[in-house]
């Protein structure tokens, strides 16, 4: 009834997105099929050369793409396990505590990522508390290098992703009535098996959502591999940045970006598929989620 003028309200956001998001993305995809000569000048002829180069070179495939995906996946696994325990412990604590605990979970999300990564550099450093602990307990006889390797990057990614996972899982856990577990116990389940048979399956939607979020964040990690990997752990996003700004090979940087995009999209599609097949198989989960 109020008329067409409200459609005009869409104009600012849609035009910003068109100019600074859609067009550049299309440009990047187009660019990935071009090449550049030695001096960084663009050659606009269509070529699959960049993709062939990427997909046939063991360095790009193993040290870059596979490492990114592998580390992101492992970090996701750890994040989900740690995040699940965290969310469960929070949801089972006194109701008056819960808002404060959730606020504490959110706190790192509000702190600058560079600052958080720096804090890990101090903690994992040669003289950091972790190494002191290892030496003091005798697990290691002298400080071991924890920084500037894959483990450090892994720890960093887990640190970054865990709060997101907790938020996803906490929401779902909170919506599962405790009585469901109690009901299982009244028919003879131990607390542990009641959890395994009732709460865990009902919280699957949260686990899935948390995983996809964590993986999405990890796979595009940028600051963490730069700072904690110390240049030794190359990631897709870092490679794209360096190729574009240092080597000035724009088409190849675009190719790396597009491949990263494809990986992200494939993972999202997989998630959609998992959610759909899960709700189809067990409709109860849909209502609990």
């Amino acid at each position: 009834m109020i008329g067409r003028s409200k459609t005009l309200l869409l104009v600012p956001s849609v035009s910003i997105l068109a100019a600074f998001f859609v067009v550049p993305l299309i440009w990047v995809v187009g660019l990935s099929f071009m090449s550049s000569d030695g001096t960084g000048k663009l050659v606009t002829d269509f070529t699959l050369g960049n993709y062939t180069r990427f997909l046939t070179d063991a360095y790009y495939l193993d040290a870059l793409l596979w490492r990114t995906v592998r580390l992101a996946a492992i970090a996701t696994l750890f994040s989900v396990v740690i995040g699940y325990f965290g969310a469960l412990a929070i949801v089972r604590s006194a109701p008056s505590w819960q808002p404060w605990l959730i606020l504490l979970v959110m706190l790192p999300l509000w702190v600058n990522l560079v600052v958080r990564t720096l804090s890990l550099m101090v903690v994992l450093g040669r003289t950091g508390p972790v190494n002191q602990f290892l030496v003091w307990t005798g697990i290691a006889d002298r400080p071991i290098p924890l920084l500037f390797n894959e483990t450090a990057v892994l720890i960093g990614m887990v640190q970054v992703a865990v709060p997101f996972v907790v938020m996803s899982i906490y929401g779902v856990l909170q919506s599962i009535p405790r009585q469901l577990e109690h009901a299982a116990m009244t028919v003879g389940a131990t607390p542990l098996s009641a959890f395994r048979r009732v709460t865990l399956p009902l919280s699957m939607p949260g686990i899935l959502a948390g995983s996809v979020l964590a993986f999405g964040i990890n796979v595009e990690s940028f600051v963490v591999p730069i700072l904690l990997g110390g240049g030794r752990v190359r990631f897709m996003s870092v490679a794209a940045y360096e190729t574009a700004t240092v080597s000035n090979n724009l088409p190849f940087a675009a190719t790396i970006g597009v491949i990263l995009l494809v990986v992200t999209m494939a993972m999202l599609a997989l998630y959609q598929w998992a959610v759909r097949s899960m709700t189809r198989a067990r409709p109860v989960l849909a209502t609990a989620g």
């Binding site: 459609t7 109701p95 600052v115 903690v123 595009e220 724009l250 675009a254």
Partner: protein, 283 residues
């Protein structure tokens, strides 16, 4: 079992804790231990960093003394102050403009029944699903190709693009549950649609607009990935400046700066929580 499943759909009882069985002390201990370990993992590094900022010697934990000298050093670092000011301006602009765009878009989308509705809402949310590094790379490439110098306007637009889904989503969620009759009631007492929007809808949307402003501010203020591609020398933002210090001057004054930022973020988080309640509902 049917009854139990029905419970899943029923609203949670007010206190949600119908105690049938008291958990054993071992379970309670386990729960507290998990909680402690979890938060140790999550927050201890930040605590270590704060402690290091008081260390008179080097970036080492535990501190070998107590000093505030590193906080004084901050004031001698014009780069840092300049970056903080640049970040604040950029984040404030992003928050105001991005949230305004988001509010407009959510309102527009609600009233738009055209064939492109699904496509437009998908477009508005899509920066959430596309890695920010690709958005930044794309913009970098296009301005490089067009021969445009990196400038603050492109940087600002990029910050708006990657944060736009948050205000759109927040405001749309509130509009979804918005009682249309509140606006209609204004019309029945003689308000034009524009007056109804200004006097009823927008004041009520404050509940999603204020959090959007804060979230966008914080996201923009903390953003590294987009800025590293697009910031020119005059707009070196805080995260970029901190990273530069890390590379060239690994000294406790960086920890002091970080502490300042941690405190600022914490204060902002708690103020925001007081304002709108971030966590689960408390009674």
């Amino acid at each position: 079992m049917g009854g139990a499943l029905d419970d899943a759909r029923a609203p949670r009882p007010r206190d949600g804790r119908v105690i049938l069985m008291r958990p054993s002390p071992a379970f309670i201990a386990l729960r507290y231990a998990t909680l402690a370990l979890f938060f140790l993992f999550l927050l201890a590094p930040l605590g270590v960093l704060v402690a290091v900022s008081f260390n008179p010697t080097a970036m080492i934990f535990p501190p070998q003394g107590f000093t505030l000298k590193w906080y004084a050093v901050i004031l001698d670092k014009p780069d840092f102050l300049h970056a903080a000011w640049a970040s604040t301006k950029l984040a404030a602009l992003t928050a105001v403009l991005g949230t305004a765009c988001g509010v407009f878009a959510a309102l527009g989308l609600k009233n738009y029944g055209g064939p492109l509705k699904g496509a437009i809402s998908g477009l508005l949310m899509s920066p959430l699903f596309i890695p920010a590094v690709i958005v930044a790379l794309a913009l970098f490439q296009i301005i490089f190709t067009l021969g445009i110098q990196a400038n603050v306007w492109v940087l600002l637009a990029a910050h708006i693009v990657v944060t736009l889904p948050y205000p759109v989503r927040n405001v749309m969620a509130q509009l979804d549950g918005f009682d249309q009759r509140l606006e209609e009631a204004a019309l029945t007492v003689g308000a034009t649609p524009r007056q109804a929007l200004l006097r009823v809808t927008l004041p009520l949307l404050r509940a999603s607009i204020v959090p959007s402003l804060v979230i966008v501010f914080i996201l923009s203020w903390n953003n590294y990935t987009v800025s590293v591609f697009l910031a020119d020398k005059n707009w070196t933002t805080l995260p970029l400046q901190l990273r530069a210090y890390l590379q060239y001057e690994y000294e406790p004054f960086v920890a002091a700066m970080s502490t300042v930022l941690i405190v600022a973020s914490t204060v902002l988080l708690f103020v925001m929580d007081r304002l709108v309640g971030l966590g689960p509902k408390r009674k």
